[in-house]
Every structure is written in C-alpha cells, then in structure tokens.
C-alpha cells in the first residue's frame, strides 16, 4: 500500500516537472523563435501563422554579400567594425586603469576608503541615464558629443565599474602568503606583482576583460545620448530599424546575441553572479 502511494507521488512530481519543462521551453524559446522566424521571413503577412516565403535575403544584405535595392536592409559590416574597434579600445583603456585600482582596493588599507568604494558602487545603485544626459551637455560644449572618442569615454565608464570590482575580487583571492614569500626572498614590490600576483590573477583579469568587451559591444543608453546621430554602433542600427523593419532588426538582434551568449557562457563560472547581471 505504502509503495503504491510513493509511486503515485513520484509520478505526480514527474508530471509536474515535465509540465514545468514544457512551459519553460515555450517561455524562453518563444520570443527567440519569433526573432529567428522574422530574420528569415521574406514575406510574412498577417494573419499567416508562419512566413509565406522564407529566404536568407536579409542576412545576405546585412552581411554585405548582396546589394539589392528591393530588400530593405543595408550592410551592417561598417557598424560591426566600428563596434568592434570601440569595444577593443574600451577594453584596453578600461583594464589599464581598472587593474591597478582593483589591486589597490584588494591589497591596501586606504584612507577615505569608504568614499572611494562609494564612487565605484554608486553606478550600480542609481540610474545611469541622468549621467549620460549631463555628459551630453558637457560633451556638446567641448566638442565630444557625436564623436567616437566621446562614445568610448562613456563605454569606459560603463565597463570600468565592473572591471574594478572583478579585478579587485580576483586579487583578493590570491593568498597574501605567496606574495610575502616572494618578498622574503628579495623580490621588490614590482617584481612580486609581475611574477606572482599578475600570473595568478590572469584568468580573472581575462574574464573581466571579456566582460567589459561584451558590455561595450551591447551598450545602448550611453551611445544613444552621446553618439547619435553620427556614431552608429551595432545596437544603434538595431534601434533605428526596429519598429518598421522587422526582418532587418531581427537579423541584427541575432548577430548581437551570438557573441553575448558565447562569451558569457565561457566566463560565467569565473564571475560572481552579481556582476553577470550587470550587463545590457
């Protein structure tokens, strides 16, 4: 009797699990399917449940393989390379100033420490849009609005905060004893840093660089205020085609989605959960 009851309970739980699985699959992949369908829909008129004809015309057009005036899409290759260039420069500069700062926060007791911590925590706690708006005001006066350097500065701002926290957490995880051992055999602080701390921190620093890279690639709000209408990054092409050109917008969205998922899957295990959610 008892075993029948346990069996019943098991079946009930399994049924609930399968229902949850199906529901979750629909929930997560439903919106994604919509994106994929639109990206290959040559013709999709309401109320057909699926596109009337499918093809890769919008993909070819967006990737610059084909140039036809009949298809409402332009090559996004220039925007892609602009985004890539901005992201690479952003990573180099942001990490060059984030690594020393992260190291200092991890290894030294700093006077006014709370104030400095506040400075790096506030962007997570308060909305950032008013910052961009006021930067636009300032940048307009000094000629940085609508320029690539202006956009890079904003991307550094967005990435730097995460860069500093991730590197600081990484340096903190390196045992002090290792550094002390190096010093006790006569290495000076620079040598200790480059021979001991830096190599040990390398995986964390790499993860943090990749993170800053992706944040820059996907950055929207700052670029919207500082860059438009002259600096057209990939997310800006998505924005300007969104709403009236479903096919083209869907193609760009998928192109943006691929590196994000790929890189984040690679580095997520190294990162603290809190930072992973900070993007976008």
């Amino acid at each position: 009797m008892r075993s029948i009851l346990i069996n019943r309970k098991r079946i009930l739980i399994l049924t609930l699990e399968i229902l949850l699985l199906l529901f979750s699959l629909l929930l997560i992949f439903g919106p994604m399917t919509s994106l994929v369908l639109w990206s290959i829909a040559d013709k999709w008129f309401w109320p057909n449940p699926v596109p009337q004809s499918i093809g890769l015309d919008y993909w070819k057009q967006a990737l610059g393989i084909q140039k036809s005036l009949a298809i409402g899409a332009v090559s996004i290759v220039p925007a892609f390379f602009l985004s890539l260039m901005i992201a690479v420069i952003t990573v180099v500069i942001a990490m060059a100033i984030a690594i020393p700062a992260g190291y200092a926060l991890a290894k030294y007791k700093i006077p006014f420490g709370t104030f400095i911590l506040f400075l790096f925590l506030m962007p997570n706690a308060f909305p950032q849009q008013p910052i961009f708006v006021n930067l636009l005001d300032t940048f307009t006066k000094i000629g940085l609005a609508g320029t690539v350097p202006g956009v890079i500065i904003v991307h550094i701002l967005v990435g730097l905060v995460f860069g500093v926290w991730i590197t600081s957490a990484t340096f903190k995880s390196i045992p002090v004893q290792l550094e002390e051992a190096a010093r006790s055999v006569g290495a000076n602080s620079l040598k200790t840093f480059f021979r001991i701390s830096l190599p040990l921190a390398a995986p964390g620093l790499l993860a943090s660089s990749v993170f800053v890279f992706i944040t820059s690639l996907d950055e929207f709000t700052g670029t919207f205020f500082i860059g438009l209408p002259f600096v057209i990054t990939l997310p800006m092409t998505l924005y300007s085609s969104s709403g009236y050109n479903m096919q083209f917008a869907s193609v760009i969205a998928i192109i943006l989605l691929i590196p994000s998922i790929l890189f984040m899957t690679l580095i997520q295990r190294v990162l603290k959960a809190e930072y992973v959610g900070g993007m976008g």
Binding site: E17, L20, L21, S24, G30, P31, M32, S34, L37, P47, P49, A96, I97, P100, A101, Y103, L105, K107, Y108, L117, L121, M122, N124, A125, F126, P127, Q129, P130, I131, V133, N134, D137, T138, I153, V154, I156, L157, L160, V176, E179, R183, S189, D218, F220, T221, F225, L238, S242, A249, A253, L256, L257, S260, I261, M264, T265, Q268, V276, G277, G280
Partner: protein
C-alpha cells in the same frame, strides 16, 4: 599596512614617501570623479536652475504637471516586477535546491540564457513576439484562445512586465540559488526529520537563512528596472503612460530641455533612494 612590511621599513627610514596606492588609484578615481561624480552632482544641481538661469523649482513643477502619471507608472512597474521576479525566482531556486533530477539540472542551465542577452536584443525580441500580429497572438489564435481580429494589446504594462521578468527573473534565480547552495544539507535534513513539509522548509529554513542574497538580488533588480531605458523605449515609446527614462530622452532629444530632464532624473534617484542606501551599506560592509 602590516601586509607590506618592506614599504613600512622604507617609510621609516626616509620619512614620508608617497603611498603606492595613490598612484594605483589615481587614474580610475580621477576618471570616476570627472565622468561620473561631476555629472551626477550637476544632474542634481541643474534640476534647480530654471530656463532664465535662476535658482527655482520650476523644473520640478513642470515635471510634476506633465509626468506625474509616468512617475507613478514607473514606480508601479518597478515594484510589481521586483516582487514578481522575486517570487518566481525563489520558487524556482527552491525547486533547484531541493529536487535533484535531470530535468531540474537542465532547467537550471536553461534559465541562465536570458541573463546573457542584452536588453536591446530582448527589446527587439519582445517587440516582434508581443506585437498585435506577433507570434504570441498568432499562436494563441491557432489554439482558438483569442480572435485575431481582436488581438491582445501588449505594448503596455503587461508586455513591459513580461520583458522585464523574462530578462531579470533568471538573474534573480542565479543569485538566490547561489545563496541556497551555501545552506548545508544538514539543516534541510533536520527540518525534514522534524516533520516539516516543503512549505515550512521554505518559509522557516531556506528563506530566513538566505535573506542576504535575496535582499541583494531584489535591490539590484529594483534599481535596474527604474533605470532601464532600452526596453520601455523600444516597446512603449512615447505612449501614455510610459516610464521616466523615456520621458528624459524626449525632453533631451526634442526640446533640449536639460532642466526638466534633470528634475525627472532626480525623481528616479528618489525612487531608488532606499534601495541604493541599503545596497551601498551592505556592499561597503562586505568589502571591509
């Protein structure tokens, strides 16, 4: 200072030398002061300066008159989605923690996916999925649940919430589940052997023991929702009501009206004030 013994000695010998951390922190801190702190302070100051350049509350009166509805809309969107994401996340995280099976392991990974998708892509996804003749409406019509001549209108509170929960509940799951993993099995076993059913297990053991990470998760998504511009801008745009972030963009792009935009910005600071203080306090404590 005890960690860096050598430099202490050097300091004693030569008197005062420049502490190395000043040099290390200088670039990052000066960048943050210039590009973050300065615009932050000026966003508050400029909200009190009217078009004639005089000190006044004009911007606030105007923002209040024009956008009170939107401020309330933003607040209700934020509260609703924080609570909804929190409940969904706690339930799923409990399930992942207490029930080990191939399906639960698969779902744990599946729910990571939206975290990695940037808001601008989520916005486009929802834009096509939730449209009056989008995939959702078409699918529901195929199941004869709705009539396509009268489709669900989702570019409003409901659609925006769907987008926010889709993107942010998974992030909340990740943090809360991380906290649940820290709770030793022995507590759960003890609860079970004392006869606690799953509901008691959740409310008496799992949630109280995991309060810090639940709070941090909720505080983080709360401030993120208040500050998100992309999703409401691409989904609702200038319809009424819309969010504060969309209004700020309109004030700046159409009217170059930085005064009212900044007053709206201060309203968004006020909305996150309590959560921001909580976040700053716990983080500073955690770091020290």
């Amino acid at each position: 200072m005890g960690k860096i013994v050598m430099s202490d000695n050097v300091q004693k010998r030569r008197g005062f030398i420049f502490p190395p951390y000043i040099l290390l922190l200088f670039p990052a801190v000066s960048f943050m002061l210039l590009v973050y702190a300065y615009p932050f302070v000026s966003s508050v100051l400029k909200s009190f300066i009217n078009k004639e350049g005089a000190l006044s509350l004009d911007n606030y009166f105007k923002a209040w008159d024009l956008y009170l509805k939107d401020i309330l809309f933003t607040f209700s969107i934020t509260v609703f989605n924080t609570i909804a994401s929190g409940i969904v996340a706690i339930l799923l995280a409990v399930y992942f923690r207490l029930h080990e099976s191939p399906i639960s392991r698969f779902l744990l990974n599946l729910y990571r996916l939206p975290i990695f998708i940037p808001f601008v892509v989520v916005a486009q996804m929802m834009n096509s999925f939730l449209a009056p003749h989008g995939l959702l409406n078409v699918a529901l019509a195929q199941l004869r649940l709705i009539d396509l001549n009268n489709p669900l209108q989702l570019f409003n509170f409901i659609g925006l919430s769907f987008g926010f929960i889709w993107k942010l509940a998974p992030f909340t799951i990740l943090i809360i589940y991380g906290g649940f993993q820290m709770i030793d099995n022995s507590y759960i076993e003890a609860g079970r052997s004392a006869g606690a059913k799953w509901f008691k297990l959740i409310t008496r053991i799992l949630i109280p023991m995991n309060k810090p990470s639940i709070m941090v998760a909720l505080v983080l998504i709360y401030s993120q929702i208040v500050g998100t511009f992309t999703l409401p801008y691409m989904l609702i745009g200038g319809k009424i009501p819309t969010t504060i972030t969309v209004d700020i963009a309109h004030r700046v792009n159409y009217f170059r009206d930085f005064g009212v935009a900044n007053a709206l910005g201060v309203f968004s600071y006020i909305l996150v004030f309590v959560t921001a203080i909580y976040y700053l306090k716990t983080k500073v404590k955690e770091v020290k």
